[in-house]
């Protein structure tokens, strides 16, 4: 989600923020919050066309019925030399660019800030942090047309980057400027870097990193600009260019097209030709559960900024999110108003049921509660120092790539969380008798994910001894009508001679025993602990 902060005064020049209008804006799917003189608006990632105040107002005005239908923008034909040549050297680097020229702009410092803000928001969202798309805006008076877009080896690229005082080569720019450092990874492993050049060979910028101080800095005296949008997805680039060009036209600019030369292919941008799509009234009614008529669509669709006639729809050239008819159907629903839908549960007979595992787990829990045990619920992640204390072997450790907390591994058992619980509860009243049912993780090449997940049951008593924990398990297994055996075994952290493996259906399914005082000391636990942990797999099989 991107957030727009707009002055209330600026919006109210166009739309009065009455309670009724605010409610309507909310029902467009635009969360809006109004403080004294500021308006905060959240924009969902599917609508980058709303990231400018102009785009947002365009949408709200059509929704409120003030200016319904597809808004027209005039694009003038290219003048002489309004051309850009795309060299094939950029093909495997940053293959596409689309461009436009806007004239008659009246910039002041506020406006410049606003435009940079739109640019940055588009970079951060649909531009995927400049990877997919980056926009450059240049003062036309400093440039000689036509333009070239090509790739050169880094040591052949030299210019004064924006806000710097001296000329640097490409590598220096990546190392020494803040934006260079932030986005250098986008040029990793590339032999050549992309640049824009003017007719005199002056470097305008090195996308997607930085403009030149000399030819790429907008000032309040700038009237005419050259805009380019470079990246990897031609379809998206065209839309992004349209988003920014339409905003500049709404700000009073006059737009001119440019001719792009991709080898022999010549294309003109910006291209505001609306895309046409068929829309079936029947499909819409079926999916929404409504009974709309043709004339309803004629009213609803223009309120979402479309033109509509006879089952055909014209889609604004700045919409990036229309992949399928369902996207239009959603807009019909929004125009109809989500609050106008009458919720209805259909009369379809299906039989509800909990999973077998849930049922058995509930019964186990019920039985243990009868013994006065309290159920705990702990994180599926454990800390590195806990893995160390538990002396986990390498193949027992399943680590996370990154984690913002000290929890960096998934749990290999419920024993570790239970010892954490006792350590954290040493000031609470004893006896503490707990149980937990939860998933544990082990490496296993045979599974789809390389990890095997098993439901485990842990029971722990503190203070407690072997007899008490065995009594508890014995009670549980009698209630479940399951036979078990216990055989002597050894296990890290438990007392030798008082540790057994639990065998159900001739299969080792867990362990039972008393925790060694040294382990308790290491975990900072003050009273004795007896516990058991079993896999519930064998028990599930019994039912």
């Amino acid at each position: 989600m991107a957030t727009l902060n707009i002055s209330k005064k600026e919006i109210e020049k166009h739309i009065k923020l009455t309670e009724e209008n605010i409610e309507k804006i909310m029902m467009m799917g635009i969360p809006i919050e109004i403080s004294e003189d500021n308006v905060t608006i959240e924009i969902t990632p599917n609508r980058p066309d709303l990231l400018s105040l102009q785009g947002l107002l365009r949408y709200i005005k059509s929704y409120l019925g003030k200016e319904p239908g597809l808004k027209k923008y005039k694009i003038n034909k290219p003048e002489k030399n309004y051309k850009i040549k795309i060299d094939s050297s950029v093909n495997n680097i940053r293959p596409y660019t689309v461009c436009a020229i806007i004239k008659n702009l009246k910039f002041d410092n506020e406006k410049i800030k606003e435009i940079i803000d739109i640019q940055e928001k588009l970079h951060a969202t649909i531009g995927r942090n400049r990877k997919k798309a980056a926009i450059g805006i240049y003062p036309l008076e400093k440039i000689t047309l036509p333009i070239r877009y090509e790739a050169r080896s880094p040591n052949e690229i030299k210019f004064i980057p924006l806000e710097a005082n001296e000329e640097m080569n490409a590598l220096e720019i990546l190392q020494r400027t803040p934006t260079g450092r932030e986005y250098a990874h986008l040029l990793d492993f590339m032999e050549k870097y992309p640049i824009f050049l003017d007719a005199k060979g002056k470097i305008l910028s090195m996308p997607p990193i930085i403009n030149s101080q000399e030819t790429g800095k907008i000032t309040p005296s700038t009237k005419d600009v050259f805009i380019e949008c470079s990246g990897s997805d031609f379809f998206i680039l065209k839309k992004i260019l349209n988003i920014i060009v339409s905003a500049l036209i709404d700000l009073g600019g006059k737009a001119y097209a440019m001719e792009l030369e991709y080898g022999k292919n010549k294309i003109t941008t910006p291209d505001f030709t609306p895309e046409k799509m068929k829309i079936s009234l029947e499909n819409a009614n079926k999916l929404l559960g409504l009974n709309l008529k043709e004339k309803d669509l004629e009213k609803l669709l223009p309120r979402m900024g479309y033109n509509y006639k006879n089952g055909k729809i014209e889609i604004p050239a700045w919409r990036t999110d229309i992949l399928h008819e369902v996207d239009i159907i959603e807009d019909i629903a929004i125009a109809y108003g989500y609050d106008n839908f009458i919720p209805e549960i259909p009369k379809v007979a299906t039989i509800g049921e909990e999973s077998k595992e849930t049922k058995i787990e509930s019964k186990i829990a019920e039985t243990l509660i009868g013994l006065g045990l309290i159920e705990t619920s702990s994180y599926h992640l454990i800390k590195i120092d806990e893995a160390k204390k538990a002396k986990l072997k390498e193949n027992e450790k399943i680590e996370l790539e990154t984690s913002k907390t000290e929890f960096k591994l998934v749990r290999p058992n419920l024993l570790i969380p239970s010892l954490r619980i006792f350590a954290e509860n040493k000031d609470n009243e004893y006896p503490q008798k707990i149980f937990e049912i939860g998933t544990i993780f082990e490496k296993d090449n045979k599974t789809e994910t390389g990890i095997k997940e098993t439901k485990h049951l842990l029971i722990a008593l503190s203070p407690g001894n072997f007899t008490e924990i065995k009594q508890t398990f014995d009670y549980l297994s009698r209630m479940l009508d399951i036979k078990y055996e216990i055989e002597q075994t050894e296990r890290q952290g438990l007392i030798e001679g008082r540790t057994g493996k639990i065998i159900i259906n001739n299969k080792e399914t867990g362990f039972i025993g008393e925790v060694h005082p040294e382990t308790l000391k290491e975990w900072n636990i003050k009273l004795p602990v007896a516990l058991l942990e079993i896999s519930l797999e064998e028990i599930f099989k019994c039912f």
Binding site: R47, L288, I369, E375, L400, G450
Partner: protein
């Protein structure tokens, strides 16, 4: 006369404990304890009973009790280090520091302290790295005040005087020899009523607890002692399910009542099921490491080729009249293994196994999901989500709203609002908001929608409408239990777990 009956009434309610101490009530607590033969706890209970009846007024005062620390226990059994050093010097009156240390077998710290202590008491002298004994025989034999103090512990600090108080101050500075604890000391005074009763020998022929003999032989003509029914009883605690699981159990019941079958699946899954099968493009921000827990060094196996190819096509060029996302879909990206960020991957798995003849079908799940988040009062890396899908050729958006409304009404939220929203895998998409009656604000619960055809076509073979939702569940739990700090949810504070009320909606 009235006073007499009042006293008589009270006497009939006296418990055996109380009658035991009433004869001695005019004396001080220590005496009462001695003469009644009651232990401290019983005595205190008896006094509390009496206070409840208006016979006495209990006064409490905090007192400092001095007791032995871990080192103190050891030194009491053996010797204080300064004594050890003194004994060493008694044998060899004039020796070097090194030798003294070796012979006395003291640690560095003990040795240093001992020299200081003995020097202060003028029992030894230190010159040119040599220790000389200055103490007389009598002085050596005599107990030091510190030693005397260790012997009489535990003791109230107020009772210490002069030398002993000084010894206390000295030992306090040293490590773990003594420790002090605050203790509540009780005293009481008699009320006017109490003055009438105190000192009386009470001989009552009242029945106490019901015994088997009473049942066998009957109690005709005898009276039971009246209990003070308002007196608080000691708390007991029972076993119970974790409050989160109680609420989940309740929610599961709602879904099964509505005809939904429970689905289950892995918490750790491949990106294929969590993202790709859900038409989430491979450069989507949710797939970045800063938001999602990826598992190190493991790549998953992808499902059957047919499904993988259909998903690939759906992403790259579109499927079923869709334009797709228009990029090169990579298998390797789909093989990355993650802790599931939502339960919707489970829905995708369920759809892939469904057969058309089993439609319509309805499934639900309530399960843990994970986000790479910091942990503070408003953030956590694990939480529950409630997931549901309805697969039905005739399913509509209105039905989706119907199921959600029904569920949240049953969860106790009467005012529900549906607002447009966006998710990569549903269209139309909707967000559910519930009205918080106390705070008078709308709370966002999470998303729902109808699965996009780009998603359902590869999984089901054709674009059948699937109503789907996956909302955070923890918010409902924190609202019910008035939990302000999310860390409380899985902190497992046993005291909290014991005291948490039962989930009833």
């Amino acid at each position: 006369m009235e006073k007499e009956t009042e006293i008589q009434r009270i006497i009939e309610t006296l418990s055996p404990l109380e009658t035991k101490i009433i004869p001695f009530l005019k004396e001080d607590i220590e005496k009462i304890k001695e003469k009644s033969g009651l232990d401290e706890v019983s005595l205190l209970r008896a006094l509390k009973f009496l206070e409840n009846k208006g016979i006495i007024k209990i006064k409490t005062a905090k007192k400092t009790i001095i007791d032995l620390g871990t080192n103190g226990i050891y030194y009491k059994k053996n010797y204080l280090p300064e004594r050890k050093l003194l004994l060493t010097l008694e044998e060899k009156n004039h020796i070097s520091l090194d030798e003294a240390k070796k012979l006395s077998k003291l640690s560095d710290n003990e040795f240093k302290v001992s020299i200081g202590v003995l020097k202060d008491k003028a029992l030894i002298e230190l010159t040119n790295n040599k220790l000389t004994l200055k103490a007389t025989k009598e002085e050596i034999i005599k107990k030091m005040p510190e030693e005397s103090l260790l012997e009489i512990l535990p003791i109230e600090k107020e009772k210490l005087k002069d030398e002993m108080l000084l010894a206390f101050e000295n030992l306090k500075k040293r490590k773990d020899i003594i420790e002090t604890k605050e203790k509540n000391i009780f005293d009481f005074e008699l009320t006017d009523l109490g003055k009438e009763i105190a000192g009386k020998e009470i001989k009552l022929d009242l029945l106490e607890e019901v015994t088997p003999e009473m049942i066998k032989e009957g109690v005709k003509g005898k009276k039971f002692r009246k209990y003070d029914l308002s007196y608080p009883v000691p708390q007991i605690n029972g076993g119970k399910r974790h409050f989160v699981n109680q609420s989940i159990e309740y929610a599961k019941k709602i879904w099964t009542d509505l005809g939904f079958k429970e689905m289950s699946g892995p918490l750790i899954d491949s990106s294929f099921w969590i993202f790709d099968a859900l038409f989430t493009p491979q450069d989507h921000p949710a797939r970045e490491m800063q938001d999602t827990f990826f598992i190190k060094n493991i790549l998953a196996k992808l499902p059957e080729k047919k499904l993988v190819n259909a998903v690939k096509q759906s992403h790259e060029k579109g499927i079923e009249k869709s334009k797709g996302w228009n990029y090169e879909w990579k298998e390797k990206e789909a093989q990355k293994v993650v802790l599931r960020t939502h339960t919707t991957g489970l829905s995708a798995r369920t759809l892939s196994k469904l057969k058309e003849e089993n439609l319509p079908a309805k499934y639900f799940a309530i399960g843990k999901v994970f986000r790479n988040e910091t942990v503070d009062w408003s953030h956590g890396f694990e939480f529950y989500q409630t997931e549901g899908i309805v697969i039905d050729k005739n399913a509509t958006f209105r039905n989706l709203l119907g199921y959600l409304k029904e569920f949240y009404e049953k969860m106790g939220y009467k005012k529900i609002k549906f607002v447009p929203s966006f998710f990569p895998y549903t269209e139309p998409s909707v967000e559910i908001q519930i009205f918080h009656p106390d705070k008078k604000i709308w709370l966002e619960l999470g998303g729902a929608g109808i699965f996009r055809p780009e998603l359902t076509t590869p999984l089901l073979g054709k674009p059948i409408p699937v109503l789907a939702w996956g909302q955070g569940f923890d918010r409902i739990i924190t609202e019910f239990y008035k939990i302000k700090d999310l860390r409380e949810m899985y902190a497992n504070d046993i005291k909290e777990l014991r005291n948490k009320k039962i989930w009833i909606k």
